[in-house]
């Protein structure tokens, strides 16, 4: 057993399911009781100067943040300096910067690590590649490389520029907050970071079910047409038809839409993926066939049935005549905020993206969410949003302090991700106290959580701009904890943090509820994309042509410019135009994963 940490892994094995069932509320307590530790881990806390502590314990309506125990052997003496690359942008109070902020000061006191900025980027498509390529070409790689894009990662691997962290990980990584937390969904987190059984980096992990769709419905429209929330695609069709027939929308005459959609059928907002899922297929995903080999769903015959259905809907005027000229983010600005559509398949965060404008433009608008309707044969599936994007954290070959960085990660992960610690950032950085006039008031008043998610200022997971964590259920556990505290605390005794989260805007409460709902359905209803690695050789070459052909064919079939049977010709063109070779390459990789 690993003696570096107070937790004994054999005593406590809360599975992810336990974690969910316990709802985070009693998890920490349960773990500590099982480990025979007092609930308040005061060990080491005295060594941290009070002015470095997060939270605002001295405020009459404030609360204290519990700091996890300082890892063994830390802070290291003498302190070490580690260079790292960072994704921007960021903003700090006067005099602070990315190398000297409340986070780095607390971090230095706990770990003895001083972080030094090697380079930074803000544009995550072009600029990030340039910066990393420059660092590679000039042979000046930082010790720690944040959110390395896939192309760069494979380049670094090909040229043997990355430190193999397998042994250090096995020895040092925290059993709960790193090893256990990252073990969800059959270890999918490691698909990229592990190469030939060796750990070459730390996975980047986002929230579970982040882009998993729920069906957002205008409840007031439903009531107006006297219908209830659809549970099947057939009922969905009936509701859409009723909305359009009654011209419920706010736009010009005859502009009401059945459902909001855009040029990408499987995407993050106003997607149609649950329609495809109702027939058990998922465009652009690689899924196992009956023999266990991977197949490209976009060319499966079932797709033709879905396209036929969508084509029918389009001809009935249920989709916008020009839906395919819109990109996903443009839906919110027109169809949703303009109240043209009363239905959309969007993630939980749809509650605060598009809907606030919808309600502002139509104060009677009442939005609700429901489960996705099932298909004709009873299938209810949607695209499983992978919390492991195409990026990893890696260390420069020859870097000596991987162990220190892993310990730092675990400490912050525990601080942030155990809801019992009630971490909520630093006063004056993440939040402000305001009085009734909106003036900043250091004592009392209400809480302004503007910039609450400022954990991006921490170096490495669980920080990072973009929201990387080590536990994909972190946000959901937090929500459950908040709701639990809210329910069990009498009115007037709730602290400002809970009020700021739960006392205000009904749409953010709806977001929380939808989040918990989506996470609960994440594993059961999700179709997973199993191809999670760098593009194959033929994908690099022919991929753009094939993707273009696919997008063009799908849209032109739906909007009636091409006959439905065009799909068969497309599938054939896809196979002969490189798709067969890609399938072989993908399965070659897939067999290597077994």
């Amino acid at each position: 057993m690993n003696k570096r940490f107070p937790y004994n892994t054999s005593d406590l094995k809360p599975s992810r399911r336990d974690f969910m069932r316990l709802g985070g509320t009693s998890l920490a307590a349960a773990m500590m009781m099982r480990a025979g530790l007092p609930p308040a881990l005061a060990q080491g806390m005295g060594e941290i100067p009070a002015d470095l502590h997060p939270g605002s314990p001295n405020n009459p309506r404030g609360w204290a943040t519990t700091l996890p125990p300082i890892p063994e052997g830390m802070p290291v003496d003498p302190p070490v300096t580690i260079t790292g690359s960072r994704r921007g942008p960021w903003e700090f109070a006067d005099g602070d910067d990315i190398e000297n902020s409340p986070f780095t000061r607390l971090n230095a006191a706990v770990t003895g690590i001083n972080w030094k900025l090697a380079f930074t980027w803000t544009d995550n498509e072009g600029e990030v590649l340039q910066k990393y390529n420059l660092a590679i070409a000039s042979d000046e790689l930082p010790d720690f490389m944040e959110t390395v894009p896939l192309q760069i990662y494979s380049e670094l691997l090909d040229n043997d520029l990355i430190e193999d962290i397998t042994d250090v990980w096995d020895e040092v990584a925290h059993p709960v907050w790193l090893k256990e937390a990252m073990g969800f969904s059959d270890g999918i987190a490691w698909r990229l970071a592990e190469v030939n059984g060796r750990k070459m980096g730390v996975p980047y992990i986002e929230q579970a079910a982040q882009n998993d769709k729920v069906l957002w419905i205008r409840q007031d429209w439903l009531d107006a047409v006297g219908m209830s929330a659809p549970t099947t695609i057939e009922e969905l069709h009936a509701v859409m038809t009723a909305f359009v027939a009654a011209d419920m929308g706010q736009g010009g005459e005859g502009t009401t839409l059945g459902i909001a959609a855009n040029r990408q059928v499987n995407t993050w907002y106003c997607s149609l993926d649950p329609i495809f899922g109702a027939w058990g297929v998922m465009p652009r995903f690689w899924t196992p066939d009956e023999n266990g080999d991977l197949q490209y769903d976009s060319v499966r015959p079932e797709i033709k049935e879905v396209l036929g259905t969508l084509r029918q809907w389009y001809s009935e005027g249920l989709l916008a005549p020009d839906f395919f000229t819109f990109a996903p983010w443009q839906n919110s600005g027109t169809h949703i905020s303009g109240n043209l559509a009363g239905l959309m398949y969007s993630p939980a965060f749809g509650a605060v993206y598009g809907l606030p404008d919808s309600v502002a433009n139509d104060p009677d608008a009442r939005w609700a969410f429901g489960d996705i309707p099932m298909g004709p044969t009873g299938i209810k599936k949607k695209a499983w949003s992978n919390p492991v994007p195409d990026t990893v954290y890696v260390f420069r070959k020859g870097f000596e302090h991987v162990d220190l960085v892993l310990k730092q990660m675990a400490w912050w992960a525990e601080l942030l991700q155990n809801p019992k610690n009630r971490y909520h950032g630093f006063e004056g950085t993440a939040y402000f106290w305001r009085d009734d006039d909106g003036e900043i008031d250091p004592m009392g008043g209400t809480l302004d959580l503007n910039g609450y998610d400022d954990t991006k200022h921490i170096w490495g997971p669980p920080g990072t701009n973009g929201g990387s964590r080590t536990d994909p259920f972190y946000e959901t556990n937090w929500i459950k904890e908040r709701r639990n505290v809210w329910a069990n605390t009498p009115d007037g005794e709730r602290d400002a943090l809970m009020e700021a989260f739960l006392g205000g805007d009904p749409l953010s409460v709806l977001w929380d509820e939808a989040n918990v709902f989506a996470v609960d359905h994440w594993e059961a209803d999700g179709i997973k994309n199993h191809f999670l690695t760098v593009p194959t050789r033929t994908m690099e070459r022919a991929g753009a042509s094939l993707d273009g052909l696919e997008a063009e064919t799908y849209i032109n079939i739906i909007n009636g410019q091409e006959p439905l049977d065009r799909f068969d010709a497309f599938a054939e063109e896809w196979r002969s135009g490189g798709g067969d070779r890609i399938t072989d390459e993908v399965n070659e990789w897939w067999r290597g994963q077994m």
Partner: protein, 299 residues
């Protein structure tokens, strides 16, 4: 004057152009060795020296791509239409503005049509998408006068027209200013003499104004030949969608999808080199034409 005497007098001038020459060599010619990546399977980690050579493979891939004919055709059709519409429109607008009596009116119009030139396509793209959408302001206006709404950006019948028209709207002001400048160079005495001889407005435009700016027209038309492979990358990227790939996908947008998003540096480099190669001949041709028909030469 001997060479020595000449240099004694002229050396400061030569010293003064040294920074310019160094700049051009350093920032224009020195980076050109980067075109070698068009013939390599380039990887930044291996660098220019270490990346494997693959000959013409990138060019073969481009020319044999199933879309090549389509994207080349679209590029040529869109860019030539744009050049023609731009030049004709600018000449007509310049002539009209030149005849306007009130200076204030002329200045106001000139400023208004010049304004869109300063907006980025990313901003304009969002605005146009809204204006041209199925329920957008244009279709609503058409419906109110009994015309069927059209999918301006969504149908292969209208997409090129929408691109050319919106490009015209954005750029015509700039071209107009060049012609207006040329018009001020015409000696007013000619106009006065023609007016005394009894020539009307149209006669004067036909016989004095147009011949007066003929060299400018020929020159600008010839020089725009060099842009024949530039159909407007940013504009099309913000306006197009998969349904109009058939009429709207150009070389640049294709390369963007193939090359940059997928980090195929070498392929993108090959396309750049191909475009430069064609552009080089067109520029030589345009200078020859400019010399032949407008008396404009650089040497």
């Amino acid at each position: 004057m001997t060479f020595k005497q000449y240099m004694k007098r002229a050396w400061p001038l030569y010293v003064m152009i040294v920074p310019g020459i160094v700049f051009v060599l350093l920032f224009r010619y020195y980076p050109m060795y980067g075109v070698v990546i068009a013939f390599q399977d380039f990887s930044p980690a291996k660098g220019f020296a270490g990346s494997p050579w693959i000959g013409w493979a990138n060019f073969e891939f481009l020319f044999l791509a199933p879309e090549f004919r389509r994207i080349l055709g679209n590029t040529l059709i869109i860019s030539v239409s744009k050049i023609v519409a731009d030049q004709l429109g600018a000449i007509i607008l310049a002539l009209l503005l030149n005849e306007a009596r009130r200076i204030l009116f002329r200045r106001a119009i000139q400023t208004l049509i010049y304004l869109p030139h300063f907006l980025s396509w990313i901003v304009l793209g969002g605005i146009l998408l809204d204006i041209l959408s199925s329920g957008g302001i244009l279709n609503q206006a058409l419906r109110s006068v009994g015309v069927e709404p059209q999918l301006w950006l969504g149908s292969n019948d209208w997409f090129r027209g929408a691109v050319i028209t919106s490009g015209f709207w954005k750029n015509v002001g700039f071209s107009t200013i060049v012609y207006l400048a040329a018009l001020t160079a015409i000696n007013p005495v000619l106009h006065e003499a023609a007016a005394i001889d009894g020539a009307g407005r149209f006669r004067r435009v036909w016989h004095i104004t147009l011949p007066g700016i003929r060299p400018t027209i020929v020159l600008l038309a010839a020089l725009s030949l060099g842009d024949v492979l530039q159909a407007g990358f940013e504009q099309i990227l913000t306006l197009y969608n998969p349904a109009v790939y058939r009429t709207g996908d150009i070389i640049d947008t294709y390369v963007y999808r193939v090359g940059l998003i997928r980090a195929q540096w070498s392929l993108a480099g090959a396309v750049g080199l191909f475009k430069s190669f064609i552009g080089f001949f067109l520029i030589v041709l345009s200078y020859w034409l400019a010399d032949r028909y407008a008396g404009y030469r650089i040497l």
